[in-house]
């Protein structure tokens, strides 16, 4: 048994701890509640490990500088909430098309606009997928606990590096701010993935996919390869291309590198699903409410289980389809007015009847509400 350090830790703090263990060396951001602790803790810790922290002049500059840090070869992160996530969208698209590894933490709060700055919500689920303009694939992960925030942040860095893509850690105010027990593994016990870089003297084309690779190799600026990065559609040389044929190839590769690797990217959890006749699908902190409710419902004899997507995007399509085939009815419980429920409906089609339980007034869903809804529709 390897040694683990047990601590009481806040979700946001666990996120930075994990980022550092994953190799984060660069953080750029802008203060915004409820994500600010991520910047504060990064500013304290990064220079101690030779890393860099910078508080930029706005949210847009925060993600832009973080992308710059990644291009210079450092594992980079930025963090935000609510309005800041909206402001970052254009450059999320930039990181997607230019294939720059980057972790973006969004500690969700109530919206739209300034909304409910200190209250939890899960209203950015669709924005995480479609917030930036244009077609692209994205990875978004949603933790339900402090421990899972740690694990998911490590995973986020690994996926960002492996697939050369922005990865969104879609947490919420509840998980970000609460303190609970965390067991921090020894650094040697954590799997760390680093981007593949071209070998010295290699004939390098920055966006050429080599046989056996998932994504093109990525040289840091200043390593002697002198190449071009642009947010325009580009060919494998990295230079802009207006060719529709090239645009097609590029876009399909960008999307398929994520969609075709769902089995590697998708994480989920099930609770009491073995004999379930009804299912509740829920994620992030709301899944804890549901878990609590399911225990009550089970005590009352209702055969209900929880399916909890940890990877929100790409969705656990295969598994959610299975849930739809297995149960008669599904409730999707989330802190919004109806977002992931649309994805579930899209996947299960007519296999099961899908209901929504949600709210976006700044209050978490209570176990009693879930129990009541289940009794009503199941």
């Amino acid at each position: 048994m390897s040694k683990k350090t047990v601590k009481l830790m806040q979700g946001n703090e666990a996120c930075v701890e994990a980022a550092l263990m994953a190799g984060m060396k660069f953080f750029a951001g802008y203060p915004i509640t409820p994500s600010t602790e991520l910047a504060e803790i990064s500013s304290e810790k990064l220079p101690r490990v030779g890393g860099k922290f910078i508080q930029m002049e706005d949210e847009i500059a925060g993600i832009a500088a973080a992308i710059g840090g990644s291009i210079a070869g450092l594992k980079s992160m930025t963090a935000t909430s609510g309005p800041g996530f909206s402001l970052k969208q254009e450059n999320i698209g930039y990181a997607a098309i230019a294939e720059i590894p980057l972790v973006i933490v969004n500690v969700m709060r109530g919206g739209p606009s300034t909304g409910l700055p200190t209250s939890p919500a899960q209203g950015d689920v669709m924005q995480a997928k479609w917030g930036t303009h244009g077609d692209h694939a994205i990875i978004a992960l949603s933790p339900q606990s402090v421990m899972e925030t740690f694990d998911i942040t490590i995973k986020a860095f690994n996926l960002a590096e492996k697939y050369r893509t922005p990865v969104i850690v879609l947490t919420d105010e509840v998980v970000g701010h609460m303190r609970e027990k965390i067991e921090i593994p020894e650094p040697g016990d954590i799997e760390i993935v680093n981007r593949t870089v071209p070998g010295p003297g290699e004939d390098y084309l920055p966006y050429r996919l080599e046989a056996g690779d998932i994504v093109p190799k990525m040289a840091p600026f200043g390593a002697g390869y002198r190449y071009h990065i642009t947010g325009l559609f580009h060919d494998e040389t990295g230079f802009p291309s207006n060719s529709t044929e090239n645009a097609d190839i590029m876009l399909k590769r960008m999307i398929s590198k994520i969609e075709d690797n769902r089995d590697d990217i998708v994480m989920f959890d099930e609770f009491m699903m073995e004999d379930a006749e009804y299912a509740i699908i829920s994620y992030g902190s709301t899944a804890r409410t549901v878990r609590n409710a399911i225990k009550t419902l089970r005590e009352q004899g209702m055969k209900v289980g929880l399916f909890r997507p940890i990877t929100i995007w790409p969705s656990a399509e295969k598994e959610i389809r299975e849930v739809g085939r297995k149960v008669k009815k599904i409730i999707v419980a989330e802190m919004n007015m109806g977002q992931y429920v649309q994805e579930v409906e899209r996947i299960v089609k007519s296999d099961a009847e899908v209901f929504h339980l949600g709210r976006a007034n700044g209050e978490v869903l209570m176990p009693s509400e879930v129990v009541q809804k289940a009794k009503e529709v199941f």
């Binding site: 200190t118 609970e180 176990p367």
Partner: protein, 180 residues
Amino acid sequence: MSNQTQIRLAGSGGQGMIMAGVILAEAAILDDKIAIQSQSYGPEARGGASKAEVIISNEEIDFPKVIEPDLVLSLTQEATMKYGNSLKEGGLLIIDEDILLPEGFESSRVIKVPILRTAKENVGRAIVANIVAVGFIAEFTQLVSRESVEKAVLGRVPKGTEPMNKKALSEGYALAQSVK
């Protein structure tokens, strides 16, 4: 759920109720129990009534928020009015000695304790009232071991203030023994 204890610590912003919550949760974890601490954010954390919540349990805690506290400790009148009346049936309300309970206030068990005065007179600093409160709760409820509480206090308070806080903790324990 049955072996869960839900605690709400209320006071005014700046009284260190969050720190008190963190210490209780940490002590529980040092005792190998499960604990969650959460708090109110925003303007109220910087003045006005503020609260910190702790759940201590022997098994996994699903729902992380306090619904009906088994115990509310409040140091100010305002916080008592705001957070004092949501107690579970049979729950315990611990309030500072000068707080007046409004008429019709429903609580089966109320204890008035001189927490602020103890901090001020016996330790010499009102600012350690939160640690006196921690000592009181720890001794009164026996939820966490004294060894763990001490360890948590010393690990969380600012460097140089350890002796003062240790004294405050002992005063809290003594206070609880005198009330029991």
